[in-house]
């Protein structure tokens, strides 16, 4: 390799330098878009650039970011989870049911504590995630179809729980489960809303798992080449099932946060949330084919969507234009994603030639 590097001409060096610059810019595009949007809205909406507004903005972003963090693993394995919005709705309804209706066993009605209600919610959503994973990994149903099915099943189950009604007054009363449910969505810790902490915690956990653990590497390996991963001894079904379960548990968090913020659980909550989550993942540069992408990217993607939504509301832009603009940003992001892969393929020989250690 060293002998090749020594034969480089000056123009080659220049070309490879600018190629690398373009690639870095393209790779950081989500960051750039986010920065541009923040600058734009700070300039146009006077109250945008305030600590208070950022705290609220982050709280709104947390909803799609948490879903996107869970979704990232599923997409990295080459799958997709369409059921997250419905699972979020189901999660809120399960918590609402347990808090307001209690649990009947032994012929008597019991009102478990809030912690138990939350655990039951996670348990129910875990089951849905496990079903998704089982269908995809063991039965061999295409992820799109399997999770489309559970999308309907979970939404139907949420409606059946209350017969279509809302569970109101989840603030609770001392005679029933006791108060405290509103802590999840409404409280603050160190002046930062609790949902933002939940998002940060899940992000730190997911980023660590993806980058630093064997499980994380297995996820990337499966998405890159499933057959090779299987032959290398990776337990593919197990990794996939865990990914879908994690996605469903993230959705459960979202359901709990929304129910807690509104102090009410509505069975239609979470409709189309899966689309926001997928958009965030794609904006963050994760490939829908699997094997390429990062949790950080998804977080930034969620911020792009959230900043766009809140900023346009602050400017008083109509709902219809908001939808058009959001769609444009998503399409643009994916187009740039394709451009990046193509440029990367084109520049790769140039880059390899100019950096001796790259080949070593």
């Amino acid at each position: 390799m060293n002998s090749v590097a020594q034969t480089l001409t000056n123009s080659d060096r220049l070309a490879s330098g600018s190629a690398r610059g373009v690639l870095i810019l393209l790779r950081a595009r989500a960051f750039l878009v986010l920065f541009l949007l923040l600058a734009l809205f700070s300039w146009m909406a006077p109250a945008f650039l305030t600590a208070n507004n950022f705290s609220i903005l982050a709280k709104h972003v947390a909803i799609s970011a948490i879903l996107a963090i869970g979704m990232t693993f599923v997409v990295l394995t080459g799958g997709i989870d369409l059921s997250v919005g419905s699972v979020a709705g189901l999660g809120g309804m399960v918590a609402g049911y347990v808090i307001t209706q209690g649990v009947t066993f032994g012929g008597a009605q019991h009102f478990p504590s809030i912690a138990v209600a939350v655990l039951i919610t996670f348990a129910v959503c875990l089951v849905v995630g496990a079903i998704n994973g089982w269908l995809v990994a063991k039965v061999g149903v295409a992820p799109f179809i399997a999770t489309l099915g559970t999308l309907y099943i979970a939404r139907g189950a949420a409606l059946l729980l209350s017969n279509g009604k809302t569970f109101p007054n989840l603030a609770g009363s001392a005679t029933h489960a006791g108060t405290g449910f509103s802590v999840i969505g409404q409280s603050f810790f160190l002046h930062v809303p609790t949902p933002v902490w939940i998002m940060a915690g899940l992000f730190a956990f997911a980023a660590f798992v993806a980058a630093k653990t064997p499980f994380g590497r297995h996820v990337y390996a499966i998405g890159g080449n499933e057959r090779a991963a299987r032959l290398a001894g990776i337990r593919v079904p197990r990794v996939k099932i865990i990914s879908y379960i994690f996605s469903a548990l993230c959705a459960a968090c979202v359901g709990l946060i929304i129910a807690s913020q509104l102090e009410a659980a509505h069975p239609a909550t979470g409709e189309t949330f899966e689309l926001n989550a997928i958009a965030a993942v794609v904006l963050g540069g994760t490939s829908l084919m699997g094997g390429r992408g990062s949790v950080l990217g998804s977080l930034i993607g969620a911020f792009v969507i959230g900043v766009l939504a809140d900023g346009l509301v602050m400017l008083g832009v109509s709902e219809f234009w908001q939808m058009v603009i959001k769609g444009l940003v998503i399409v643009l992001a994916v187009a740039v994603d394709q451009l990046q892969s193509r440029l990367q393929a084109k520049f790769l020989p140039l880059l390899l030639r100019s950096s001796p250690q790259a080949g070593a």
Partner: protein, 312 residues
């Protein structure tokens, strides 16, 4: 693998059989509403179904999810199942005309509730709540509770929905004439509580001067109330529209100031009664378009109202 498939198939078959009802020889009233997860449409469907059963009919309730194509399929299902009457809360004033006409041509009288269609002379009756009058009532109460000068925000319903447009027009017929009131932000929250919560939080950031919020329905008003509470603001005046039980409870607790109650239960019962009369005598005895006024619900009279009906 095969065992699993058989087990799943058995489960599905079991569910299907549980879903089928015993064959019924009574005449069928087919009730179609926009959705069953919204308390308003749920109350309307339940009231129509109960009244029809009281009068000796079999009933079937279905939802079209505001999808005109799905509504079309449901009308076909009603024709195929030889329904005696269709009670319909339609999926759009223009897009429903052909479906209503088709049912009528097949000899099934259609009674429209809650939402009108453009064309007259096809449906046997169109019974709706007076959204304009209700909106004016609520807006009047909104002005009364607000300080003489101040900023307010508006949460609109789904912008493609006729009732959302009639309500906002009614609001502004009153509000625009009041000197001192200023609309600083208007956003659609698509009738949704969670969306109203987020949009209100953002609007309050952009415009801290907001003293009141007028919402196109109660779910959005409740979402706004939750956002106001989470921002720790006191004395915010919030009004809604519909008269849902949750909103009336919030009015009793002082979190909302007022709502316009649409007498959905009354309208649904009236439609079924007229349908019954039509089947027996060949005439409803009423003109086609009937408009029922809304009631203003405030803290003073909140105890008089229940699930979309006046209790006393």
């Amino acid at each position: 693998m095969r065992g699993r498939v058989v087990a799943v198939a058995a489960c599905v078959a079991g569910l299907m059989m549980a879903g089928c009802r015993h064959v019924d020889r009574r005449k069928l009233v087919f009730i179609i509403v926009p959705s069953q997860d919204n308390p308003f449409f749920k109350a309307e469907a339940d009231a129509a179904s109960t009244e029809a059963q009281r009068l000796g009919y079999a009933t079937r309730v279905d939802a079209h999810d505001d999808d005109a194509y799905r509504q079309d399929n449901l009308i076909d299902a009603a024709i195929a199942s030889n329904a005696a009457v269709i009670v319909l809360d339609n999926a759009g004033s223009d897009s429903s005309v052909s479906a209503v006409r088709r049912a009528t041509q097949k000899g099934i009288p259609v009674f429209l509730i809650d939402r009108e269609i453009e064309t007259s002379g096809i449906a046997k009756a169109q019974i709706i709540a007076d959204n304009d009058q209700g909106a004016r009532l609520v807006a009047g109460e909104f002005v009364r509770t607000l300080p003489a000068t101040g900023d307010y925000a508006e949460l609109l319903g789904r912008e493609s929905d006729t009732n959302a447009q009639i309500r906002t027009k009614g609001f502004h017929a009153v509000l625009d004439g009041v000197a001192g009131l200023r609309l600083v932000s208007a956003q659609s929250a698509n009738w949704s509580q969670a969306e109203a919560f987020q949009k209100t939080e953002t609007m309050l950031q952009a415009h801290p001067s907001i003293a009141g919020i007028i919402a196109g329905n109660d779910t959005m008003a409740l979402g706004a109330a939750a956002a106001v509470k989470s921002a720790g603001l006191k004395n915010m005046k919030i009004v809604g529209f519909d008269g849902s039980p949750d909103a009336i409870a919030a009015i009793r607790m002082g979190e909302l100031q007022a709502t316009a109650l649409q007498p959905a239960v009354y309208i649904a019962r009236l439609a079924v009664d007229e349908a019954d009369r039509y089947l027996k005598t060949g005439s409803t005895g009423e003109k086609e378009r009937q408009i029922v006024p809304c009631d203003l619900v405030t803290k003073q009279n909140a105890l008089d109202y229940g699930n979309f009906e006046k209790l006393r």
